[in-house]
Amino acid sequence: MYTPRPKPTGFIKRFAYDSQEMLKFSLSTLRACFGRPFFLTEWIEQMHLNGVKSIYLVILTGLFAGQALALQFSIELSDFGAKTYLGRLMVLSMVRELGPVLTGLLVAARVASGITAELGSMKSSHQIDALRAFSIDPIRKLAVPRLLSLLVMVPVLTILCDVIGILGGYVIAVLVAHIHVGLYWAPVYENLNFGNIFIGLFKPIVNAFIIAFVSIYKGFSSEGGAKGVGLATTQSVVITSITILIANFISTKVVFSLIRGYF
């Protein structure tokens, strides 16, 4: 990270170089998670900034997405006289797919941009050099607390999004689809089995790594003043969003086939 080397030109070479640098940087961040000193205050501060402050956004998203989904499902299901399947479909779609993806994308938009912009401006105003001049490792002080805060908060926010989405479905079930309360909730509980919960937690952990590694790397490696920081911020949001969607697909494919028996 800190040992500058000639950067290759050309799209493919540059992509390979960037990926390799990001991998190296991510590995050193991971390694730094286990060493001392550990910056506890920074960690708590980051959990607040990245997690607690995202709660309203996640609640709103979960609620409206859940309700829209439940509306669609209940219309389709009533054609087959199968409205009692609503609870089951809500759990499957929220916990397995929508909750992780929506929360991941929201946090990517809100937090990844913030992290890249902040670290980028610290870099361009030489604050990161200043940390090192005072013998503080910027990876420990800046990268580790951000990574660890996301590893805690993204799963928590995802669970929140799932719960709110399913509650939104419940509102629709009762008020619009006129399903009996018990008939909505029974399949919900039934489908909160190991397999669904596992994949529902596995995905947000992957998302947390993606958001943290991309946004922190983009911030640390940004160059060229305000303009460079702006560019890095945009790239950070775009790359995290796309990677989250791709990783989500791969998780579904791979994890499902691996733990099929548990569903």
Binding site: Y2, T3, P4, R5, P6, K7, M122, S125, H126, Q127, D129, A130, L131, R132, A133, F134, S135, I136, D137
Partner: protein, 255 residues
């Protein structure tokens, strides 16, 4: 003793330093002059060991910085106070947390004791104690620069001070305050100073030994007289705007 021995360095494909050599004996002040982008800030970063040189060696008291690991570098950095371009204050921390940064992070002192020392230091660099709880953004450029000097001094009582463009962008009054502070430090505390700048008028206040670099090479290294009479076209080009300024002042009967 600070020394660069045939140092080359590059951030990317373009070489930034192409074989730089100079020496600064203990307790002396030296000004490094050069156009923007000539590699001045990079020289200071190499002194701090933030980057290793590609070839050649950077020596502080005879020890080669480029060959050290982080733990050894930490010891060397204790000898050095660095004032970054535009101060580089930590903008999420208060003035007090900035000035006391090193003590907060690396010492076992009680927070009250640190605050006491921070207040003394603010007084020493000519700032009011009442700004201790302000954020750097709320201060003027000149005040920020003095906070940065305070932060560097309180860190470890350094014997080497590195200043990166300490007066650039300051109004005349702030400039003369910052210069006076740097001069006091250099004289009273027997500190070696390296001042990087492209503002020759300010440079004259602090030192009369100059190193002029251009395009990553040392073009001139010596006293003011020699610099004034230097016939190298790159030096002439650097001094021309300054000379035109004097001529203009004389024409208007100011000088």
């Amino acid at each position: 003793m600070l020394e660069f021995r045939d140092v080359t360095f590059s951030y990317g494909a373009e070489p930034v330093l192409r074989g730089i050599s100079f020496q600064i004996p203990d307790g002396e002040a030296r000004v490094i002059l050069g156009q923007s982008g000539s590699g001045k800030s990079t020289i200071l970063k190499l002194f701090l060991g933030l980057y290793p040189p590609f070839s050649g060696s950077v020596l502080i008291d005879g020890e080669d910085i480029g060959k050290m690991n982080e733990r050894e570098l930490r010891e060397v950095r204790k000898k050095i106070g660095m004032v970054f371009q535009d101060g580089a204050l930590f903008d999420s921390m208060t003035v007090g947390e900035n000035v006391g940064f090193y003590l907060i992070e690396h010492s076992d002192l009680e927070i009250d004791e640190i605050e006491k020392r921070v207040r003394e230091m603010l007084g020493y660099v000519g700032l009011e104690e009442s700004i201790i709880d302000k954020l750097p953004d709320e201060l003027s450029g000149g005040m920020q620069r003095r906070v940065a000097i305070g932060r560097a001094l309180l860190a470890t009582d350094p014997k080497i001070m590195l200043y990166d463009e300490p007066t650039t962008g300051l109004d005349p009054e702030s400039t003369s305050k910052a210069l006076a502070l740097m001069k006091t430090l250099a004289e009273r505390k027997k500190i070696s100073s390296v001042i990087v700048t492209h503002q020759i008028v300010d440079a004259l206040e602090i030192a009369d030994d100059f190193i002029f670099i251009d395009d990553g090479q040392v073009v001139f290294d010596g006293k003011l007289d020699g610099f004034r009479d230097c016939a190298d076209p790159r030096v002439l080009e650097f001094l021309n705007p300054f000379r035109r300024g004097i001529a203009e002042l004389q024409r208007k009967k100011f000088a």
